[in-house]
């Protein structure tokens, strides 16, 4: 039995590939020889315990904190991502955990914040509103009105607006930093739906999450970081939650024994 998502087309050359990324902060080796590949139309979950180096890795990709060593390849060609702007130009959009939306400005204003459409020196509100509606409807994002302030939206709606906003720059890779943290059950579902729609549009998604249920629900592959090193990449469909968790915590032996115990128990049934 194969889940539908595995049959989806995945391109041969990864859109984004990290090769041997290393990063030091003073005496701390935050990342050591980290490898990561993201293809178009693929959701890769990046998991790891606190301090495993997820944020540091994301910062190297987003151009906020460039790596000391290693190569970032974009469509197979090595590139330098030393500034946030360089990442955006390549087509890497990052949605940070704390959203970065202005509560007092309406949805349209937030979507276009910093890249307003201007006609003869004047904000073209009509065009921005039209494009906002178009964007939100292609993503099946339901928001009561695009003209209400962000403050009146629920947490899940805000998260979807933040993700939609990152798509305005037409990126190829979207990095979502814990998009479902602090969201309710239904709101989490809305965000996960949106992640799937991004995949359907052929975008590569890096999903940072602590929530194994979310990872199992939407990710195609799981890349585990442990103490700044790769600790395995797993195919979500064929890997159990326990295996991923043991890779995160490093208790690999335990997991194997637990698995063995379980399979033998099932065998004797």
């Amino acid at each position: 039995m194969k889940p539908a998502k595995e049959m989806m087309h995945v391109s041969a050359t990864p859109v984004l590939a990290l090769r041997g990324i290393s990063k030091r902060f003073g005496a701390v080796q935050a990342l050591t020889d980290v490898e990561l590949e993201i293809h178009a139309g693929e959701v890769v979950a990046l998991v790891g315990d606190n301090g495993a180096g997820k944020s540091t890795l994301v910062k190297t990709i987003a151009g906020v904190g460039p790596a000391d060593d290693g190569v970032i390849e974009w469509d197979g060609r090595p590139v330098t991502v030393d500034r946030p702007h360089a990442a955006q130009e390549l087509g890497i959009a990052t949605v940070y955990q704390d959203l970065a939306l202005c509560d007092n400005i309406d949805v349209v204003g937030n979507l276009f914040l910093g890249r307003e459409i201007v006609r003869a020196g004047v904000l073209d509100e009509v065009e921005m509103e039209r494009r906002s509606r178009e964007l939100l409807s292609t993503l099946s994002i339901r928001i009561p009105s695009v003209r209400i302030p962000i403050a009146s939206l629920s947490g899940g709606q805000r998260q979807t607006v933040a993700i939609a906003r990152s798509l305005l720059g037409e990126p190829k890779i979207v990095i979502l930093d814990e998009p479902t943290a602090a969201l309710g059950v239904e709101q989490t579902a809305q965000v996960l739906d949106l992640v799937e729609r991004l995949r359907e549009r052929g975008l590569g998604v890096i999903l940072i999450s602590h929530n194994m249920a979310d990872v199992k629900a939407v990710a195609d592959r799981v890349a585990v970081l442990r103490l700044g090193r790769n600790n395995g990449t797993f195919d979500v469909a064929t890997t159990s939650q326990e295996e991923i968790i043991s890779a995160i915590t490093g208790a690999t032996d335990n997991a194997v024994t637990r698995r063995k115990a379980r399979t033998t128990a099932e065998g004797t049934k």
Binding site: A100, L101, C102, L113, G114, S137, R142, D193
Partner: protein, 432 residues
């Protein structure tokens, strides 16, 4: 794994019954509290009531306040709503009002500028010294005086935005420092009288006495408003986004036309359309346009909402902050010229006394939030009318300035209470 239910790529709005969350989202889409407004007046009324309940009071408290103030003073002295008194009231309001417009920008950032009184005095003194003592042409001295306000404001902005000194402290230092510089500039005799028939004197004593001027301006405003609204509605319709129905546009135009023509008639009953009012209204309209219709204005609001979000969106936070303080300084200097024009002199008390508090109070009374992120330039106009009405009415009734201060203080407190309460209500209604 509830989320797996919607894996279907064709998860479009046409088939929302497939999944529980899509169905729930469809319910959200027609949530009557948030979005859907009925057409016509019934919809307008229910929207208005909803706004009231959720604390979005807008200009309502100040308009009600103005009406009450007008009625109370009119009952005590029938000259209050007379043409002469109201015309003078508008002219004296212009100076403080212009300063308050600058304050509105600073308040939207969520900051405060305490130096505006001193800066306005400094500008008046600079003008007087350059023009009267050094014989510089009036227009040039006027430009230099106003630019001195820009420079001083930019300096405050620099210390705030680049060095990171709280705006409160920087501008408090400015309050003392620029007042000192003004005294220094004025020199030993302390008062410099201005030319009574010059450009600056004309700011507050020139009236366009032709009846057509006031009515013409009123007509121009109403027609421009109508045409812009209709054009906007047409473009929105063409783009397929919701637009205001024509009936609502007509109603709004009428709501603008009535006060516009009444005020124009009042001016014509006295000396005609005052120059001060034309300039004040022009500045309010121009800066309202900047604030709501340009990307610069959007940046100012963004900073008032979340500095972090603004800087992540690529907004140059320091530049916007400096420019807002420079604008506040410029408006303070411009307002200072009007205040100097009223007394036709620059003296040691220029920009002192209750001017600073009146300007800040005007912005807040008019509905600009002290908490940042919310405000309109029109609130400076409405707020200053409230303050000036109280001052004018009490002067008419011969009430001592001691009582005036107490009453203005109480009105300011009431305005801030309304601001705080409406903000809290908006928070509970999820709109702040």
């Amino acid at each position: 794994m509830t989320t797996d239910l919607s894996k279907d790529p064709q998860d479009t709005p046409q088939e929302p019954e497939d999944t529980p969350q899509a169905a729930a989202a469809a319910v959200t889409a027609v949530d009557p509290r948030l979005l859907v407004r009925q057409e016509g007046f019934a919809g307008y009324w229910s929207e208005f009531r909803r706004k009231l309940r959720s604390g979005e009071l807008g200009s309502l408290p100040v308009v009600v306040g103005l009406i009450i103030i007008g009625l109370v003073f009119q009952l005590r002295d029938s000259a209050f709503l007379g043409a002469e008194n109201l015309s003078n009231l508008f002219v004296t309001a212009a100076g403080t009002g212009l300063i308050a417009v600058g304050i509105v920008f600073v308040l939207i950032l969520g900051e405060i500028d305490l130096s505006v009184g001193s800066v306005s005095g400094l500008a008046a003194a600079t003008f007087a010294v350059l023009n009267v003592n050094h014989g510089m042409p009036e227009w040039l001295a006027l430009v230099v005086a106003i630019l001195s306000g820009t420079v001083v404001g930019a300096l405050h902005g620099f210390f705030f935005a680049r060095i990171g000194v709280p705006a409160f402290v920087v501008t408090l230092a400015g309050l003392l420092g620029w007042n000192g510089l003004m005294l220094q500039v004025l020199g030993s005799n302390g008062t410099i009288n201005l030319d009574d028939s010059g450009l600056v004197a004309g700011l507050t004593n020139h009236y366009f006495s032709d009846v057509a001027a006031a009515y013409g301006l009123a007509t121009l405003s109403v027609v421009a408003f109508l045409l812009v609204s209709l054009r906007d509605a047409k473009r929105r319709e063409a783009a397929g986004v919701p637009s205001r129905p024509v009936s609502e546009i007509v109603l709004r135009t009428a709501a603008l036309a009535v006060p516009a023509y009444v005020v124009a008639w009042l001016f014509n009953e006295y000396k005609g359309l005052p120059m001060a009012v034309v300039i004040f209204l022009g500045v309010v309209v121009a800066l309202d346009f900047v604030l709501r219709r340009t990307s610069y204005g959007r940046k100012v609001f963004a900073l008032g909402g979340s500095v972090e979000a603004a800087s992540r969106a690529g907004i140059n936070v320091a530049a916007v902050r400096i420019s807002v303080f420079a604008l506040s300084g410029t408006m303070a200097a411009l307002g200072g010229m009007f205040l100097a024009s009223q007394i036709n002199a620059a003296n040691q008390s220029s920009g002192a006394g209750s001017l600073l508090m009146n300007a800040i109070a005007a912005a807040v009374i008019g509905g600009t939030s002290l908490f940042g992120g919310r405000g309109k330039t029109w609130s400076a106009l409405l707020g200053v009318l409230v303050i000036q009405s109280i001052a004018s009415g009490m002067a008419l009734l011969g009430i001592a300035s001691a009582v005036q201060y107490m009453i203005t203080g109480a009105v300011l407190l009431a305005a801030v209470v309304i601001d705080s309460v409406s903000r809290r209500t908006q928070k509970t209604a999820g709109r702040a």
